[in-house]
Symmetry: D2
Subunit: 354 residues, 4 copies
Amino acid sequence: MIRAGIIGSTGYAGGELVRLLLGHKNVEIKWYGSKSYIDQKYADVYRNMFRLVEDVCKDDDLQKLAEEVDVIFTATPQGFLASVLDERILSRVKVVDLSADYRIKDVSVYEKWYGMTHQSPQFIGEAVYGLCEVNRDRIRTARLVANPGCYPTCSTLAIYPLLKEGLIDPTTIIIDAKSGTSGAGRGAKAANLFCEVNENIKAYGVTNHRHTPEIEEQLSYAAGEPVLISFTPHLVPMNRGILITAYASLKAQQGSDGSSFPTEEQVRAAYEKYYRDEYFVRFLESGVCPETRWVEDSNFVDVNVKVDPRTHRVIMMGAMDNLVKGAAGQAVQNMNLMFGEAEEEGLRTAPVFP
Amino acid sequence: MIRAGIIGSTGYAGGELVRLLLGHKNVEIKWYGSKSYIDQKYADVYRNMFRLVEDVCKDDDLQKLAEEVDVIFTATPQGFLASVLDERILSRVKVVDLSADYRIKDVSVYEKWYGMTHQSPQFIGEAVYGLCEVNRDRIRTARLVANPGCYPTCSTLAIYPLLKEGLIDPTTIIIDAKSGTSGAGRGAKAANLFCEVNENIKAYGVTNHRHTPEIEEQLSYAAGEPVLISFTPHLVPMNRGILITAYASLKAQQGSDGSSFPTEEQVRAAYEKYYRDEYFVRFLESGVCPETRWVEDSNFVDVNVKVDPRTHRVIMMGAMDNLVKGAAGQAVQNMNLMFGEAEEEGLRTAPVFP
Amino acid sequence: MIRAGIIGSTGYAGGELVRLLLGHKNVEIKWYGSKSYIDQKYADVYRNMFRLVEDVCKDDDLQKLAEEVDVIFTATPQGFLASVLDERILSRVKVVDLSADYRIKDVSVYEKWYGMTHQSPQFIGEAVYGLCEVNRDRIRTARLVANPGCYPTCSTLAIYPLLKEGLIDPTTIIIDAKSGTSGAGRGAKAANLFCEVNENIKAYGVTNHRHTPEIEEQLSYAAGEPVLISFTPHLVPMNRGILITAYASLKAQQGSDGSSFPTEEQVRAAYEKYYRDEYFVRFLESGVCPETRWVEDSNFVDVNVKVDPRTHRVIMMGAMDNLVKGAAGQAVQNMNLMFGEAEEEGLRTAPVFP
Amino acid sequence: MIRAGIIGSTGYAGGELVRLLLGHKNVEIKWYGSKSYIDQKYADVYRNMFRLVEDVCKDDDLQKLAEEVDVIFTATPQGFLASVLDERILSRVKVVDLSADYRIKDVSVYEKWYGMTHQSPQFIGEAVYGLCEVNRDRIRTARLVANPGCYPTCSTLAIYPLLKEGLIDPTTIIIDAKSGTSGAGRGAKAANLFCEVNENIKAYGVTNHRHTPEIEEQLSYAAGEPVLISFTPHLVPMNRGILITAYASLKAQQGSDGSSFPTEEQVRAAYEKYYRDEYFVRFLESGVCPETRWVEDSNFVDVNVKVDPRTHRVIMMGAMDNLVKGAAGQAVQNMNLMFGEAEEEGLRTAPVFP
């Protein structure tokens, strides 16, 4: 059995980790860390766990935790892990970090967008960006995995094949994203009250959302050149789900008989090439739009694409559950890779509808 | 492997059966029956099942089905199963009926409340009412199980201990029930459109909802005398969940020093007595109100009770997922009992929140 | 023009008062009181008022306010008005209090249920309970009106005729109430976050909600004898609306040929008698259940009743908008009466649907 | 008094027209047309109108209607008005058409996108596109006004100033739109059931939504050259509201010291120029994102813009109520202009929140 500890187990992502790990046949949760609810019964905070979890919440002492478990999940505010991580911990346990601390390779970019000084930049280099479908092999041997952000996971997977295959112009990428409210966390803010979110949709973080440089870094790897994007997230009155609608101009291809644009078939072939063998990425049939309801409570990302011959643009769409593939599910997927488990273990449950 | 066939697999209860049976280690679904979507791919109707179910929808030929499977689930309109069931079918397969056809023992009561003639009353006698916590032993040997209605399941389990122990006056029971909208089914009715249900709550079926006699019959067994109730269901703008708030007057107890009313402790002891060893009925700690969110997507029923010393009444509360314990989950629980499987097999997943 | 001041103008009820008074042809709002947002532009807090309200929020200095306006509305926490009200204020302005400070005549009952000492019990006697349909004449001449609570307004109006006419047994009244989330206020509490309220229904305040004694007092006046009730409120995932489902046993009537129970016609006649001429109480046609969507954003209360001949009980139902007839709308209605305005002025807009 | 007739009065837009016209001091509704509910009481269909509307639904006989009213509103399916309109009707009454029949000047474009033959192309020329802020003067004298579509209204108003002032490149416009579900109408379709829409977001009509050519035509007028756009609408789980998030590349401006891009100030000045004096278009303060909740139930469109100096793109945002400014409210605004009423009459009510 893999012994797991969770720091931040009473946030929404932490709660989802608990739920998923309870369903994993080779994991035992040994530490329910929660600064806010220390010494309280976990099941008094998340009453869905009544009778399923008998443990009491503990603190966030990573040094002590490192002696008791095999893997630590940190679902904590930005900067926390960076401020406490050291070689001693990394030499004893594997760490899957759900915060942004080690996602961005250029520390100056991190510090600029997150407005804080990085406390342990020495680990940024070895941290592996845990987008399993892209970095699978490196994740297997990593000590420290930077679990991707929710928007970056869905955005990157929706766009990746066309950038990789050079079918779109990297300077034209626009990502319009929509997220359920669990992405805003469980903190008691007036802006997230039911009456403020319900019957409303709004954009936020326009031109300056922190996930922008993370997406740009990943897309740059795919494109083989620096990529700048426009990224606009929106808050949707629903609990779970992220939908990505991304736009880019098709790149004219030089052929023997002059230039032309990639066809729907060529575009679809690119997705097939990268996702044919991926269990968690479902490339939908032609004409079917991804919808968040079809992936809810699962680790699937549904992806599809449509060419617009009028504008020579392509619309790339992705839908996933922000708490699963966008957070806890991908963290479990990473853990599975790191410990040699079947990649789908604990993540095989079908999406729930309605 | 138990081979299962589902008639009505594209309704909400049918879809939930598919989801649950896919997670059951000893079941294989052999027949996705759906009159409305015959010859269409099941995953085109429920796109959450893309890549998980490759089958095409079939018709509702029970005779043929009886040759190919071990158990038939019928999630069909009232009267359908009664019109086609015969001894030949029952001699070959076990049947779990999610409709109301065999729930009520007095056929005249059925015919009055449902407004139709019962086509096969000869099977009413042998049908076992599939409320597992009450009729467990008889279910094990049944050929035909009448899977309880959603409101009756939650209502009966919330009230049962106090009636059985004689602590409440059976003539004073009032059940005020609230249900999510999936209970109304997937039929295209204007009354169930998003804009009609959202931002609204209403009572319906006041004094004449069809679940009334079903609840009364079960409560009568518990009380050992005929029970009449007031039952008022309400439609709540949410997908899943049933909440029962039931009221009754405590029965004055004759003691050596005059009469007195049962205390909170006596009342709680009654629940402990019946539910202490039940996995799926969670009797909550004192003062905690059941909420539908804490049981969502699970087979749990959360129950609690509060004595009001001012009025000598008791408020009995129950919460469950109408599609799971209120329909498909209980059907699987019944199947497990009928086939000697562990009662919890396929139903162990924790409630999902948020 | 009536000059109005609002203390607590940035809560949900206060915001609704602003909206309604802006539509009142003879009112000018002179004071937007808000302790939390003092010196901030009101329209920065409620952006729906951008360009419609240019004022900046002020403090809650009632003495100063009393010199500048004709009427003060207090949409403030329990105890605030009681702690600052004095004869000087009351001699200068009329006060409509949306808090519970002066609703309950027996100060010991108030202090027990609200857990605080009443700071100005000397004004309880003169305060008029502002349920316009019942106390219209006394409101006209009042200096201080205690604006009724949301649940008490809807409950009392739904039950009043049958108690007044002696058609129901006052010892059997059970009120099962359901409210939208705006009733919980705009405070930043985790329990009221979108993800906690959405897709959920729960009871709260079981046997001890503070509106219980307020309802009991009003029903006692109607019955002419002390009335104890069971009252259970529920939180519904919607912004606005209250639905009351109340139960009582019909009182057997002695006739020349033995006893009998009131008929549906007799019961309906009682409602007609009291509400025939009421603009804001709509007694629905037989068989139509009140729904919150049909009264949203309006000052209407929709009421209906159904006799259950099986149980000799009657089900009394009422629906209204908790922020309008349950708070700000009724406050305006009271102000209209106090200032000799047409009772419907500012409140004639039709309910909004969907 | 202006006598009004409404064809299609029981759809969502028709119902909103009824509500708004009831609040208009100079209008009397004489004809509630509804093919589906003919001879039924209007208030039995929309129970919010109980006691407020006593009329019975009538048919859609425009010839007869033309003799009884001064203005006809048609909130009808595409093609209906075109099939019955003739000179006799237009010579007697003014017509405001909420369908798309006369919005597009090029009949071949209409026929291609709507897939039907236009039955009365002879009236296309004289029809005035009823976007009041743009075509105010021509609307005043029109006999036939084509009331704009919901998406086109919000999209055009959000983008118009920058195109008109030549600050953006017309070939780069991408419009990502989000709509509440009332936009899908009141027809009984399974796809619009509560459980299908709730807890979900999806794109639809990708690359081929019918509002595309309507938006393109209006933007072309503003740009002074043909404009092609990418337009992607999304369905949001809420009743009302449209949010537009539009993207375009800023046009490099040639100055004496080389080229440069428009600044945030220049961009804002363009909006101020066009909307400074518009009552219903609220250009928000810098940094404030439009949200649908702040315009709900009102005729306002909230607009704002943000320059992204990293990408030299501009993000243009607009929010409005799809049933008011996007349908019935704009229709009333058009009627006001056509009949010499104050443009805001009947439309002055503040947005409702929450």
